[in-house]
């Protein structure tokens, strides 16, 4: 199971990469492997400002719909539109081409609430 040490994680199996006041968000390798083939990524909150833990979209596998929860409060500034035609990138490259949104972080103090790679490993029993 790939859990890069430079990323932060959530209990909802999302990863967060913070660069300045912008955070890139996706789902973890563990999450994509549990979900199976991702067939649709539905994000309808671009340009909206949401609180931490609010639903910002969903990923759909063949048999399941999973809500996506915002890992940090802020404004959703970009959706990875490549996923509209190739949602399977979430399976093949969850930490790279399979990124889902970019977020303008409104409260940097929330970042310390995120899980480290070792916390996340413990969570999933990896």
């Amino acid at each position: 199971m790939n859990i890069p040490s430079e990323l932060k994680y959530t209990k909802d199996h999302e990863w967060v990469k913070v660069e300045g006041d912008v955070a890139t968000v996706g789902i973890t390798d563990f999450a994509q492997s549990e979900l199976g083939d991702i067939v649709y990524v539905d994000i309808d909150t671009v340009d909206e400002t949401l609180d931490m833990d609010e639903v910002f979209g969903s990923v759909e596998a063949v048999k399941t719909v999973s809500d996506l929860f915002l890992p940090l409060s802020g404004e959703v500034i970009a959706f990875n539109e490549a996923l509209e035609d190739e949602p399977e990138k979430v399976n093949t490259d969850p930490y790279g081409e399979g990124w889902i949104i970019k977020l303008k972080v409104s409260d940097a103090s929330e970042i310390e609430k995120l899980l480290s790679d070792s916390d996340y490993k413990a969570l999933i029993g990896a």
Partner: protein, 356 residues
């Protein structure tokens, strides 16, 4: 939870296992899309040993079947199979099933795993004609070998001419070194192939030879996308205790050539036309319809319910089945599927969604 005779084989292959109808079943091996395409373009094998099998025999076997089944089992000859359903007394369906006529006065009924006990009790309760019933569900395994190359790839495993077995016909004979198996030209995928019924202690040898001959293991997730692309009903989703065979589009297996459970009421429903109908629809925009999502009209009023839905691997769009009032059920009608906050436009189409 029960295992099939092959559960450990699936686990050794790395399958993701899920509980289904009380059985530990493989939902996928390599990924549902790859498995789906393998069946559409080549050949796959499904372990569907969770399905139930009842033997009904004796000189009154046909009398019992005619009482409980919607289709006319008297049309069956030895070596033929028939799709049928068990109507209940209240306008709904107890189960859908396939009947095989094995011999004169001997029939095999293949029922859904989730309904084995319910069906057994239901049919038993109607058996005042003295037919002999045996539940073989725990003793028999079932493999579905499906796909356009199934016959060619499996021919070396049997002395029977597999290509000569016509759709919904079967032979009893040798396959993969085992005698007395049922080789049936049936399936639930729309891509051709056949199904093999054998005893539990024989199925491992057959599975091994079938996979060695080039059939790819396929899980239940792809079984569902394959059947839905054909518009085939799934019991528990599209048909149930509360849906009539007439509104479900199963009039073709509901034959009023004889009396059967609730036949008077179903005949009247057929003559006056059902109030609602099971329709097939494709989404006009991105999205995936799901079981129990609402179908709404242009003003957002709820008019029906989605009973099955998925992203079609073959079409690359959202497809589904659902019930709507008969007056809005015509092919070409625009409807909307309520997917979370959005009403996504959809068009009623004539199934199958997938045309080979």
């Amino acid at each position: 939870m029960k295992n099939t005779a092959l559960s450990s084989t699936h686990e050794a292959l790395g399958a993701k296992m899920v509980p289904f109808a009380g059985y530990n079943m493989p939902v996928q091996y390599d990924g549902v899309n790859i498995e789906h395409q393998a069946v559409r373009k080549d050949c796959g094998v499904f372990d569907v040993s969770h399905m139930g099998e009842f033997l009904v025999e004796g000189e009154h076997a046909l009398d019992l079947l005619q009482k409980v089944c919607s289709n006319d089992a008297s049309k069956l000859t030895v070596g033929k199979a028939q799709y049928t359903c068990l109507p209940n007394d209240d306008g709904g369906v107890v189960d859908d099933l396939i009947i095989y006529k094995l011999k004169e006065d001997q029939y095999l009924l293949v029922v859904n795993a989730s309904n084995i006990e319910k069906d057994w009790n239901w049919i038993s309760s109607k058996n005042d004609v003295g037919a002999t019933m045996r539940d073989l569900s725990e003793d028999y395994s079932l493999l579905a070998i499906q796909g356009p190359n199934a016959v060619e790839k499996m021919q070396a495993l049997s002395s029977h001419d597999l290509a000569a077995i016509k759709f919904y016909n079967f032979e009893v004979g040798n396959f993969a070194g085992i005698e007395n198996v049922i080789i049936s030209a049936t399936g639930y995928t729309g891509s051709g192939g056949f199904e093999i019924y054998c005893k539990n202690d024989e199925v491992k040898q057959i599975w091994d030879k079938v996979t060695a001959a080039g059939a790819k293991p396929i899980g239940l997730a792809a079984r569902d996308t394959l059947r839905l692309e054909m518009g085939y009903c799934l019991y528990g989703n599209d048909i149930s205790d509360t849906t009539s065979p007439i509104e479900a589009g199963l009039g073709w297996i509901t034959k009023f050539t004889k009396e059967f459970t609730n036949s008077e009421a179903l005949k009247a429903e057929k003559e006056r036309g059902p109030k609602r109908k099971l329709i097939a629809f494709e989404l006009d925009e991105r999205g995936i319809p799901r079981h129990d999502y609402e179908i709404v009209d242009a003003e957002g009023n709820a008019i029906g319910i989605v009973t099955s839905g998925t992203m079609s691997p073959s079409l690359g769009k959202g497809i589904g089945l659902g019930y709507v009032p008969t007056e809005v059920s015509a092919v070409g009608t625009k409807i909307f599927i309520q997917i979370r906050k959005k009403a996504i436009p959809a068009t009623i189409v004539k199934p199958p969604f997938y045309k080979a």
